[in-house]
Structure formats: C-alpha cells, structure tokens
Point group: C2
Chain length 253, copies 2
C-alpha cells in the first residue's frame, strides 16, 4: 500500500482531529514540531556555511485576504499557516543560519505576536512593511536560500496583494527554494495548474503529502511526526517509517 | 570559559525569562522541545531493539507535596516538571518504543490532562494508582530502561510518599536509568548528599547542568535548545555548540 496523498479537506480533518478534545494537541505543540521539521529539512540540504542567509517567507496568517477564503476551517487551523515559518526561522537561527523574515501580512492573534517576539529576541531581522517591492528585492540580493511558508493547504487562488507581486520576485531570483506543505501558488489538489506557482527544489510535506504535489520531483521530506497510529489507521495514511528519533524523513521514489 | 552550572535560583530565573512577556515562549513549546530532547537522548544510548520497554516515571506535577515547597516559583514553572516525562513518553512511542507511564500524583491542570490524553491516544499504558508498590514492581519486571522525570530543579527534600517507596524500587531494579535535569533524590545544588538518590547511567540536563550534577560521570547530554544568544550572554552560560540541527548535545569531559 502506498502513502496516501491528501485532499485539502482530509488535511483539514486530520488537523482538526489532532486538536479536538480527543487529540488534545495545542497549536503551540503542533507548530513547534512542524516548524522544527521544516528547519531541519532545509539544514539537511543547504549547509549553513554555503547557504547562511535564509529568507523565510511567511503567509498572511489568519487575517487579511486569506481569512475570507477559509470559511469552514476553524480559526485555530488557519493559524498553522505562517506560524510554521516563524518557528522555522527561530530554529534556523539556533542552528547558526542568519534568517530574515518576510511577513507582509502579520497575524494579529496572540500566538503570532509571541512567535514573532521569539524571533525578535534572537535578533532575527524582519523586512519592514512597504508599499513597493524594493525591500524584498534588497533582501533577495543577499539571500542564499528561500523558505516558502506563504500558502498552505487551505490556499485557494487567486493570489492577492502583496503576494501577487512577491511570488514572481521569488521565482525570478533563481535562488533555491524550500516549500512547506504546498509550493505557494499551487492548487492544493491540482498542482501548479495556473503556472504561477513557485518551483521549489525541496518540499516539506507536513503529516502527509497533498494531492497537488504528486508530480513534484525535487527532494521531498515528510515532517510533523505527531500522528498517532490510531489516526494514521483511521485515515489509511500508510505513512513510511521515520528513521530512529529523526523528526524528518526523506521520501524516495 | 567553561559552561556554567546553575543554582536552583538561576535555573528558575532562566525559565521565567523564557516565559515572561519578553521571552514569549509558552509552556507547551518549551515542554515539547525539552521532552523531545529527553526521548532522543534515551534513544541515542538505548536502542529500541534491545531496550523496547521504557518505564517513564513522572513527578507530582504542580500539585501535592511539592507545590508547598516551591513558593516563589510561578505555577507555570512547576508545570514543567512531570510534563517533560509525558512529552518524552509520547515521542518514545512515536520512535517505536513501548513506554509505560508511572505517574502516581498526576497534575490536575489542563496541560497535564492534555499531555496525558496524547499518550492515551497512542495507547501508552499508565500504571494504575495503587496504595502499595505491587503495580510498580510488576511494571519493572518487564522494563528495559527507566526514564526518571520525577523531580526537577525545584526539588527540595525530604522525599514524600509515594516517591519515598518508589525510589528504592527503581534503584533496586538495577535497570539502566536516564534522569532528566537532576537525578531524583539528589539535591539540586549539593548532589546526592543524602545518599538516597537514583544513580543514573545517563543524564539529560535541560538548558544547562545544575550545580548538583558536577560530579556526575555517566553519559551526559544537554537538551532544551531554545535559549536565545542574548539570554545565554546575560547569564554567562557559555553553552557549547550543538551539532547541526540536533536537539541534543553529548557533553564530553
């Protein structure tokens, strides 16, 4: 039996089960382990000596344009997106990288503020908000690798401002890209059908790959090692076995 | 400059700074990373094929006898103890070990309930509460290695029931023991002065070693890779560098 690729709905359902009364996980726990996995996957591929400067691109969190599109998802769930990036940025800082945060639509909820403060305390720089793309261009000029945590499994196009202008810049930089869960701009189930999505070199799928990345042929990692066996069986995920005590697993063809 | 060994007061102060408004960490985040480090250190030393059955011994949480002794510590801080063990048990389960939880004085706070539910969902067994030590004896007979997360840095003797009868049983089992932060029964600053403490083979010091373990000469790991450089410098901790993206670091003489 091969590993299941998730629809957006199923991905949502799994996150809901993890966080409901039975699953009992807090968003802090899940985000911490997911963000750690993203940072570790990036570190596995891009050595900090050759790739010290990481631009961590974080999505709009649970406010702004995206929020209107995710009716049906609990507010809790939408928090996961964007937050992963902030957690990853902090861990990358701990690993000795120099992350810079691009988060043009910061979330207003308490958890975002806290995750952001944790980065600030590590002296991780954030690109100041701006009406044009000059600050992002400047940051890209000294970036070695991009962590794309902009859109996650709840994304539905079209891409709204300011991400509509940011995505082409990221693509145009020709820098290596590590995407979290779903490359930004891709449809969660259909893939890069609009052709406007990023083309990552590395993908970190959280809990299980989504349907839209079936055709992805770069280096592909699994992260989010927190699915109890009972849940894995209920949803017939057929997850491969993580090695030892690692929090990431590289998927091979 | 060598690494600083912490007094109980300094260890408390560091945790407070991590969790106050400036540090901005939630207890969930810190406990998750600390518990993961404990599980990974155990897995590094004790292979799951030869040592599949882990007895995870958790302290009294923030209630019962201990609570009266920790005046001056915030309720938040005392939560850290015992909780680490539950998080470690869950990760050990994910790694493929068969953990059993011994937690004779379960905490009543919401976070304990949630951490416990997460273990229950993984079908991790808990030794039922009992007025005698027979259940613990039974569990020990099929245990391969003990994770000692009973007392942490806020411990002050004497050892109260039911831990006063549990500790000699754990020692008497002659099973390998991995202790978290401070071996149970040791004075946090003076070490095993009463001679009643456990004699672990492996120690996992969280954030930095405590004064009481200076004489410890087993395998010694550092975990809790979440201290920002600014905090490390403020308290002159002189922490060694963790390798790569690892969450544990083995200390060598």
């Amino acid at each position: 039996m091969s590993m299941k690729h998730l629809t957006a709905k199923l991905a949502q359902q799994i996150d809901e089960e993890l966080m409901n009364q039975a699953g009992a996980f807090s968003i802090d726990q899940l985000m911490e382990l997911a963000g750690l996995a993203c940072a570790q996957a990036l570190a596995r591929v891009y050595d900090k000596k050759r790739y010290p400067n990481v631009l961590v691109c974080c999505g709009p969190g649970n406010q702004g344009a995206l929020q209107k599109l995710v009716t049906g998802l609990s507010a809790k769930l939408t928090l996961l997106e964007g937050g992963d990036g902030l957690v990853a940025a902090r861990h990358l800082g701990m690993f000795g990288y120099t992350p810079t945060i691009f988060m043009p639509k910061p979330g207003s909820k308490d958890i975002y503020q806290r995750l952001k403060s944790q980065c600030d305390n590590m002296k991780i720089k954030t690109i100041p908000p701006s009406n044009d793309t000059s600050a992002l261009r400047d940051a890209l000029s000294s970036t070695n690798v991009i962590l794309d945590a902009i859109f996650g499994f709840s994304f539905k196009g079209p891409i709204r401002s300011p991400f509509d202008s940011a995505l082409p810049l990221l693509s145009g930089s020709r820098l290596p890209i590590v995407s979290v869960d779903i490359p930004s701009g891709w449809d969660v189930e259909e893939g890069n059908v609009e052709g406007v999505g990023l083309q990552p070199d590395v993908l970190v799928s959280l809990t299980a790959p989504k349907l839209g990345v079936r055709s992805f042929n770069g280096r592909h990692f699994l992260g989010g090692r927190f699915i109890p066996k009972t849940l894995e069986e209920k949803f017939e995920l057929n997850l491969p076995e993580y090695p030892g005590s690692d929090q990431i697993l590289e998927l091979k063809e």
